[in-house]
């Protein structure tokens, strides 16, 4: 009975919890808010695991809202990829929330409700099978993210929020233009139905559909920080408070996921004249994104900025996989996506924790007083750095190795992709070792360790270690995870089965 409604639960449950958090019995005390949100995030993780199990064993699940059959109603699609993304979001949420309960949540009002609304928006964007519904969920998650970004206030945040909000509003306008074009030509907004209809286009409408598809790439590129549209990211992510920045690590992935979903399903290899519409654009742009991320990482003045630039590197790496567009590459990319999101989030949390203990210089790479818990934080930083840079024995190594293998199928692709990924990894190693040496070893003894700096609360620490622990766990269970991601990628490319499943449901 419950399983029938499973695809809707990860969307509706955080929405309900978010609303409950605004109502008196819970809203009155921070303690209650904390415990309810933590419990809720545990429930969402359970939902994520359940979804993975159902998607893996029983195949694609469809959910028709209001029982309106496709292609007319809005539907949610639960397949292996979307289940994986929902589980990833829930893990990230728990890590960020654990850190937030350590004291970042009382700088303003309604932190937890906003957090839950953002989770609902992100999960909705992953699960929806309707393009306009995707726009609506984008707006839900953006609205929450605007408020979360300036949560706590301060000059830097207002400044960053202004850019972020204006850019995303223009992005939303572009999204609507693209939707208008696609609806006007294809006559439907259901993604599966659109994929079926691109084959029967009038030749004179081809250019319009192409425009719509490429406009969508601009929109998703803005969300995922593809090269000419990535300049907002470092400042925004480094201005946000630590748990918010950690949650934002999933936001770029929403863009990448949308590119994977929309452009493989509608404009994928089977789309007739529009087949592989974005590949010629994605190739140079993803390689350049990688390059600019590496340059940015080398030039970063603080650990947060470095973490933000490492996010851009991971975006570049993932989009290269999207450009290669073989099931093998996408399978590797899904593994790398999970790893990079969790570790980037851990790095943002860590940057905040280190900054707090170094006094006024914060997490900038200058000499400052010694951190109070050098072994605890140092080990965490070491693990995170090795994992991000892609060194064995952590998950980044496996992810990058699989990507390189997938790129090695043809020598032409390999000759571009291998140097790009390897050099960017080298840049990451250099930047991270510089960061580690300045943060932990360049100590001036003038400022003695004062008693006023408290050691890190246990909850904050557990948030960091929870996210970091996923990295070695992903290595230990690499066999089953890669098997799953490969199957997920094959399912993503098996367009005909998906179409038959969704559109036949409508005929019943």
């Amino acid at each position: 009975m419950m399983q029938q409604h499973l695809p809707l639960l990860p969307v509706i449950f955080p929405l309900i919890i978010g609303t409950l958090l605004l109502l008196p019995p819970i809203a009155n005390s921070l303690m209650r808010q904390r415990s309810v949100t933590l419990l809720a995030s545990l429930v969402i993780i359970a939902l994520g695991i359940w979804m993975i199990q159902v998607a893996h064993l029983e195949g694609i699940q469809l959910y028709f809202l209001g029982d309106w059959k496709p292609p007319f109603g809005i539907l949610l699609v639960l397949d292996r990829t979307s289940a994986l993304m929902v589980l990833l979001t829930s893990l990230l949420t728990l890590g960020a929330l654990l850190y937030a309960t350590g004291g970042d949540d009382n700088t303003g009002m309604h932190f937890y409700p906003l957090f839950m609304f953002q989770v609902a928006g992100v999960n909705g964007a992953f699960l929806t099978g309707d393009l306009f519904n995707l726009f609506v969920f984008f707006e839900v998650l953006l609205m929450a993210s605007y408020s979360l970004l300036i949560h706590g206030g301060g000059k830097q945040r207002t400044q960053a929020a202004m850019h972020y909000v204006v850019l995303n509003l223009v992005g939303s306008a572009f999204f609507l233009f693209a939707l208008g074009i696609l609806y006007g030509t294809l006559g439907t907004l259901n993604m599966a139905d659109m994929a079926a209809r691109v084959h029967h286009l009038n030749p004179d409408e081809l250019a319009l559909v192409k425009t719509g598809g490429l406009l969508l790439l601009v929109v998703f590129g803005l969300k995922s920080a593809l090269l000419p549209l990535q300049f907002w990211l470092p400042r925004t992510y480094s201005a946000a408070s630590a748990p918010v920045a950690a949650l934002f690590a999933i936001m770029t992935k929403v863009g990448i996921y949308s590119i994977l979903r929309v452009h493989t399903l509608i404009f994928g290899p089977e789309a007739g004249e529009l087949a592989n519409l974005i590949q010629p654009w994605l190739w140079p742009l993803s390689l350049l994104t990688l390059a600019i991320g590496a340059v940015g990482a080398l030039a970063s003045p603080s650990l947060r900025m470095l973490a933000a630039n490492l996010v851009i590197i991971s975006v570049g790496t993932l989009l290269i996989a999207a450009a290669i567009a073989t099931p093998q590459a996408i399978g590797a990319a899904l593994y790398y996506l999970v790893h990079s999101t969790l570790v980037a989030a851990a790095l943002f949390l860590l940057a905040d924790a280190i900054g707090e203990q170094r006094g006024k210089p914060g997490d900038r790479f200058v000499a400052a007083r010694r951190v109070q818990q050098p072994i605890l934080l140092g080990t965490a930083f070491f693990v995170a750095a090795l994992s991000v840079a892609g060194m064995p024995p952590f998950s980044g190594f496996i992810g990058k190795l699989m990507l390189l293998q997938a790129a090695g199928q043809t020598s032409l692709i390999a000759s571009w992709v291998w140097p790009a990924i390897l050099i960017s990894s080298l840049a990451a190693i250099i930047a991270l070792s510089r960061a580690g040496t300045s943060l932990f070893w360049r100590v001036n003894n003038r400022g003695n360790i004062s008693a006023e700096v408290k050691p890190l609360p246990l909850l904050k620490l557990s948030g960091i270690w929870f996210l970091l622990a996923c990295s070695p766990l992903m290595v230990i269970f690499a066999g089953s995870i890669t098997e799953y991601t490969q199957l997920a990628a094959e399912q993503l490319f098996d367009i005909q089965t998906t179409l038959d499943l969704i559109l036949q449901q409508g005929d019943k």
Partner: protein, 115 residues
């Protein structure tokens, strides 16, 4: 009618883009508003323009596509909320940063640079 409609959308978009690229927050907010008007009209036209057509079957001789109307309604609501948020944010940034430039600081004039 189509030409007039297309011309208005084009004009609104062009003005919206121009104003969005300005350096102060107020023109940017107005620009975004114009852009969202243009988008709403454009979405409306994606179901083709029909005169004297109801969105309900059987209520008139010709009928018009109801989906774009539903889409426009959603887009209007979202656009309205976002504009309100942007205005509040602009006021907040004026108060926090002491000026109304989108970068939060006034650009340095060329003469001052020389000094």
């Amino acid at each position: 009618m189509e030409a007039l409609f297309a011309f208005s959308i084009g004009l609104l978009t062009a003005s919206g883009v121009f104003l969005t690229l300005r350096g102060r927050t107020f023109p940017v907010a107005v620009g975004i508003t114009l852009l969202s008007y243009a988008v709403n009209l454009f979405l409306f036209s994606s179901g083709r323009l029909t005169i004297n057509g109801a969105a309900v079957l059987g209520a008139s001789e010709v009928y018009t596509d109801p989906v774009p109307q539903a889409l426009v309604l959603t887009a209007i609501v979202i656009g309205f909320a976002m504009t309100a948020f942007l205005l509040i944010l602009a006021m907040r940034s004026r108060a926090d940063l002491g000026n109304d430039h989108v970068d939060g600081r006034l650009p340095i004039e060329p003469e001052e640079k020389k000094k």
